[in-house]
């Protein structure tokens, strides 16, 4: 069996959720790695979009910023923030790929502060394009580490809307109909959202991870079905591309 890290596994699982011929708005960090990997493997026609204006690049090596020159390398268009965000508001972007510091059972995200807003214990960067992506794209995929400080019943700050307080809440707030969180991918497993209650539920656990591990690292009641499959581990080809082509300097995957 191949040796791999949790980050590499997350990148592989995330890349597999992206279908060929779809569009994805990609945030900084691991989402870039997953999208670049998907483009080199099963989804050569994945339309990768960056908020600063890069549309449809062939990502040569991992960008440091969602606005640097790698984000429009051999792209089909070098546009603007307005152009990209308007496309998302118009319904042309299938997936958003985000990270977060905290998540709640409805997939709402915090990337703004830990503690109070006006006197924060930890000040985080803020929304960036996160709120926009999570508001406007059809399906939001979240990549983050899972523990009780991050998976919380109540967020310190709701930066980016998930399903807010439950079924119908997004639409009542005025957010585009039929949008919302789709998958949460962590070092422990893959989660989705229950159709009826819009609460988070476990879809698969990663190799070597027990159900207890998942429960112990979740600060709220997670829906756990009777049968929980085990995530397919990274394949040799995926790991080779990750390490040698997508991120050879190890700036994301370590």
């Amino acid at each position: 069996m191949m040796d791999y890290t949790a980050t590499e596994l997350m990148a592989c699982v995330a890349s597999r959720t992206l279908e060929d011929g779809r569009s994805v708005l990609v945030g900084t960090g691991l989402p870039m790695v997953a999208a670049a990997l998907a483009q080199r493997l099963h989804a050569p026609n994945l339309l990768i979009i960056f908020e600063a204006g890069g549309i449809g690049p062939r990502i040569p090596t991992i960008p440091i910023s969602v606005g640097d020159s790698r984000t429009f390398h051999r792209a089909i268009m070098a546009a603007s923030m307005d152009y990209v965000m308007s496309c998302a508001q118009l319904g042309l972007v299938d997936y958003a790929f985000l990270g977060a510091a905290q998540i709640d059972p409805y997939g709402n995200l915090n990337t703004t502060v830990i503690g109070s807003h006006d006197r924060p214990r930890v000040r985080l960067p803020g929304s960036g394009g996160g709120n926009d992506a999570g508001s406007l794209c059809w399906r939001t995929i979240i990549l983050m580490m899972q523990d009780r400080r991050r998976f919380v019943e109540k967020l310190d700050f709701l930066t980016t809307p998930g399903y807010l307080i439950g079924p119908g809440a997004r639409e009542r707030a005025g957010l585009p109909r039929g949008t919302g969180p789709y998958r949460v991918i962590t070092q422990l497993g893959v989660m989705g959202f229950d159709e009826g209650s819009k609460r988070m539920g476990l879809l698969s656990r990663h190799p070597g991870v027990t159900l207890d591990d998942v429960v112990e690292n979740t600060g709220f009641q997670l829906i756990i079905p009777e049968e929980v499959p085990v995530t397919e581990p990274p394949r040799e080809e995926e790991l080779r591309l990750l390490r040698e082509v997508v991120d050879p300097a190890g700036i994301v995957i370590g």
């Binding site: 603007s80 803020g126 930066t159």
Partner: protein, 338 residues
Amino acid sequence: MRVLEEGRGELLGWLDPDEARRWMAERKSRSPVDKRMTLREAVERFTHDGDYFALGGFGHIRVSMAAIYEMIRRGRRHMAMAAKTAVHDVDILIASGVVDRVECAYSFGHELRGLSPAGRRAVEGGRVKVVAEISNAGFQWRFRAAAMGLPFLPTRVMLGSDTLRYSSAKVVEDPFSGKPLCLLPACYPDFAIIHVHRCDRYGNSQIDGITIEDIDLARAAKRLIITTEEIVDEDLIRMEPERTVIPYYLVDAVCEAPYGSHPGNMPRLYYSDEEHMAEWLKLSRTDEGVKEYLDKYIFSVEDFSQYIELVGGRKKMEYLRRLEMLEEPLRAPWAVRG
């Protein structure tokens, strides 16, 4: 329109549309005049203590570091920044004491490099206040509303979130669909500084690659300083008018600043200088380190060209050019494997 919700964030940079029209009509010259001047003169004339301002580019991409260093050298204070994807720009402006208020879409972070030690220390210690939150599209569309001469722009972002509750936006019921809409107030910064690939002496500017928010920001700003990699002949602009993204009548100053985005990326010309960024991120962990950095790279030199010599001159710039052209592998000292 019925107001359903109002953000509690401070409303910065808003003007009544008729006031904005009057400013533009009276203060923006439609007569082409040679606006070339030194950065020192531009910063002295068009930036003032207490101003609310925005910077073009993307925080560490095509950002006018040359102008930022000059603002620091001139000792500007108590400024509020429209931190629309602000990265290295806001970090060093906070660390040097220029900025003490932030309207925040993205700040206090260095994207893949991690969080910004100096910016975080200032905001967590209370020296810098975040007076409003917003999203990236939020800022883009605040500038767009201003660029269109409108008081606000209706959008579908920020709804249902604390980002909205801490912003200067309002939620109303759309008179057409009946659905809640987020109204983003127009934003006319006191000044903006945009770094471009080339422009002529009047300020007609071309940008290679993505334009981010700059086409709208250029129209929204009450004063606009253009810094440029090179000043070209007007004929070159007129040969390809479709390439002009900022016309001269929006521009107040033109300052030539080769490598002006260093240590940031300038698409097609040079990639970011990760060794220099790593030095900043390391030194800025302490106030003493910040002082050491500012003394070494900003206060010890007269202008930006001396700084470029100090950080490695031609040899370093040639390396960054090859890096940009993918002819060299990236070395990132802040990353695990480097």
